[in-house]
């Protein structure tokens, strides 16, 4: 049993994983982020003409890529699946870029200040093993099955109703997520640059609509690659200057020693990852190593990386089975180094805050606590002169856009194939006619998705509580989904009725758990206990964590028990390519050894081990 302390820490991540705003820190930060961003920092940033020039050039390129791809968008396959034609390095970088939302960048830098290098667990043990598992064991079925989406895999493996349930929940969830992301962006631009909230919202929506409408998924993916490079290059000066400020990594360590000792921790508690995880009270996260291993490394990360269509869709757009399997592995390499880009400056921020003559302070909330989400903004302001400052701000804007575009491109695919084609207008059989028809539907869905996101953004700005509640509800669908997909892929006995009941049952159990428990200090019924209170959790995060565990465990139990009780309606022949035991293993004999996914996976795991040892 995890203690409250440990849970608090696993927590941020569980929130991230079970939350609808899956790729953004919003989820990680939980509900506090939207409230936090409402507090204005004391001073805003002033941009020069060159900063605006960089921003405008970037927007022109983003739209230009969409425009250049427009002429290839002649079929639904091209628009919604990128024609399954992209090279692995492109899908691999997009895979990681979709996950690198601005709210995540902001939140993780904040966590760097708050928890130090322990934050890297979210990038290392909390991501890499799951990505390797997805690549080696799950991608062959997702890609090989010819499914066009995760819900469609459920249809092929199980039945229509299982797909329908998942598709509808997913569609609603992505629209909410993109709306909240949009709201946060507009709020941020208003607060730090003094731009008009409504104008920022409409403008960002219009740009994302522009390039996703023109070029579909390919445009979203290509732009994610562009965004990846601008995020990396835009934040590099910050890393160098913050390290230079304290005399490099060793100098930073020395500066931090007295500061963290003052807080009651060992001198190197902020600059190590595993060293102080023997006892929860020794490290700032308050977590033990097994909590990190099991909580982050297994339950949460596998649930997130292996079933989320937003992520999986990138790999599905790859040009070949080999490219699809390599996608998560290629993405894993930059993923492991992102902490140096965003967590290290966060750690430097802690040193800055505690150096009185530097005048570096984070904005405070009403309770007088620093708002860590603003760390990166304050760092940009601290170190970057106009010019590179514009580049840094553009990097943040880029990550917001990749977030929204990712949601929109996942939404239009699920809507068109899993809802519209399944329930409203089935394929007519005339391939050309169908491709044209669904292309038009996909385009309309893109517009509709963006309009619905704008609506969601305004609801979030007016009724934060309702948005929180909806987010909590929808966060309950991912955990049962992992159980159901995992059982489907690795146990041929799993039946459609059982899977449907598992998905629904897991979801209802999660709802029930939420309705019966309440975190300490909850002030609205939206936070739980709306049926009655049988248990009180010390923190809200603990409640969410257990909600997810209950959901996943009950979905698995229901699915297993009902599978044994019901008849398998799918013939063994139909399950070839969908289930592990029935599918011939890919040997990659004709692929050069250094290009084989297995070799790449070993390489990735080796880097993970080396990094963990260096920053032990």
């Amino acid at each position: 049993m995890l203690t409250a302390d440990q849970i608090t820490t696993i927590f941020p991540y569980s929130r991230k994983i079970f939350n609808i705003e899956d790729k953004n820190f919003l989820s990680f930060a939980g509900k506090s982020l939207l409230t936090n961003l409402k507090t204005k920092p004391m001073s805003s940033l002033t941009l020069g003409w060159i900063d605006y020039a960089i921003m405008i050039i970037y927007f022109l390129f983003v739209l230009g890529i969409g425009w250049a791809l427009k002429r290839y968008m002649k079929s639904a396959t091209a628009f919604l699946e990128a024609g399954r034609s992209l090279p692995a390095w492109v899908t691999g970088l997009a895979f990681i870029s979709t996950n690198l939302g601005a709210l995540e960048v902001m939140g993780m830098t904040g966590s760097g200040a708050k928890y130090g290098m322990l934050t890297t667990h979210f990038y290392w043990v909390g991501a890499i093993p799951a990505m390797v598992f997805l690549a080696l064991f799950m991608m062959p079925f997702y890609y090989g099955s010819k499914a066009r989406s995760v819900p469609e895999y459920l249809k092929l493996r199980y039945d229509e109703k299982t797909r329908g349930l998942n598709a509808i929940l997913f569609a609603v969830m992505t629209v909410l997520a993109s709306g909240i992301s949009m709201y946060a962006l507009a709020l941020l631009l208003e607060n730090i640059l003094g731009w008009n909230f409504h104008l920022s919202l409409i403008l960002s929506a219009a740009i994302v609509l522009g390039y996703t409408y023109l070029g579909g998924l390919s445009s979203a993916i290509y732009n994610e690659v562009l965004q990846f490079f601008i995020i990396v290059i835009g934040l590099l000066p910050l890393v160098f200057l913050s390290l230079k400020d304290f005399g490099g990594w060793d100098g930073l360590k020395d500066t931090l020693a007295p500061i963290v000792e003052n807080k009651g921790y060992a001198a190197d508690a902020w600059t190590t990852t595993w060293k102080y995880t023997g006892k929860a009270s020794l490290n700032p996260m308050g977590i033990e190593w097994y909590g990190i291993f099991v909580g982050l490394g297994f339950v949460l990360s596998f649930g997130y990386w292996c079933t989320n269509f937003l992520i999986v869709q990138r790999a599905m757009a790859a040009k070949s089975r080999l490219a699809a399997r390599s996608t998560p592995l290629i993405g894993a390499i930059p993923k492991m180094f992102i902490p140096f880009l965003i967590i290290v400056p966060g750690i430097a921020a802690l040193a800055l805050m505690n150096t009185p003559d530097r005048n570096f302070a984070l904005p405070m909330n009403d309770a007088g606590q620093p708002i860590y989400d603003y760390t990166i903004i304050m760092l940009l302001k601290q170190y970057l002169p106009t010019g590179v400052l514009g580049l840094g701000i553009t990097a943040l804007l880029a990550s917001f856009m990749s977030g929204m575009a990712g949601n929109v491109s996942a939404f239009n695919t699920v809507w068109t194939y899993d809802i519209y084609q399944s329930y409203i207008r089935p394929a007519s059989g005339n391939k050309d006619d169908d491709e044209h028809h669904y292309l038009r539907v996909g385009r309309i869905a893109t517009i509709f998705g963006i309009l619905a996101s704008i609506a969601a953004a305004y609801i979030a700005s007016k009724f934060g509580n309702i948005m929180d509640f909806l987010q909590t509800i929808f966060s309950m669908i991912n955990a049962p989904l992992f159980a159901v997909i995992f059982l489907g892929m690795f146990w041929k006995r799993t039946t459609g009725h059982a899977a449907f009941s598992g998905l629904l049952g897991g979801f209802l159990i999660a709802l029930l758990h939420h309705g019966l428990t309440i975190p300490v200090g909850a002030d609205t019924v939206f936070k739980g206990g709306w049926i009655g209170v049988v248990h009180q959790y010390p923190v809200e995060m603990a409640q969410n964590f257990w909600t997810a565990i209950f959901a996943c465990a009950s979905a698995a139990t229901i699915t297993v028990v009902l599978s044994l009780m019901t008849k398998q309606k799918k013939a063994t022949k139909e399950l070839v390519g969908l289930v592990y035991q029935l599918t011939p293993r890919e040997t990659d004999k004709d692929v050069a050894w250094h290009k084989r996914p297995l070799t790449l996976a070993m390489f990735v795991l080796l880097i993970l081990v080396i990094l963990s040892i260096i920053f032990w």
Partner: protein, 71 residues
């Protein structure tokens, strides 16, 4: 899809590179501007870095095109 993403990436970073390098050169003696960066002319350095990165991407894109034509 017949578009090579290396082309727009290369082009954009080359433009950024030229822009920041020139800006860095013109503001070389501006002490106030580079006070936050400890006197380091970050615009110049980042500009040069982006220019090199952008040109490398463009080069790869052109090489890829040539290979395609041969094939």
């Amino acid at each position: 899809m017949g578009v090579d993403i290396k082309l727009p990436i290369g082009l954009m970073f080359s433009i950024f590179g030229v822009l920041l390098t020139l800006f860095g050169l013109f503001t070389k003696s501006d002490k106030v501007l580079y006070e936050p960066s400890f006197g380091v002319n970050v615009n110049l350095w980042v500009g040069i870095f982006m220019l090199v990165f952008g040109l490398a991407m463009l080069l790869m894109a052109v090489a890829g095109k040539k290979r395609e034509k041969k094939a």
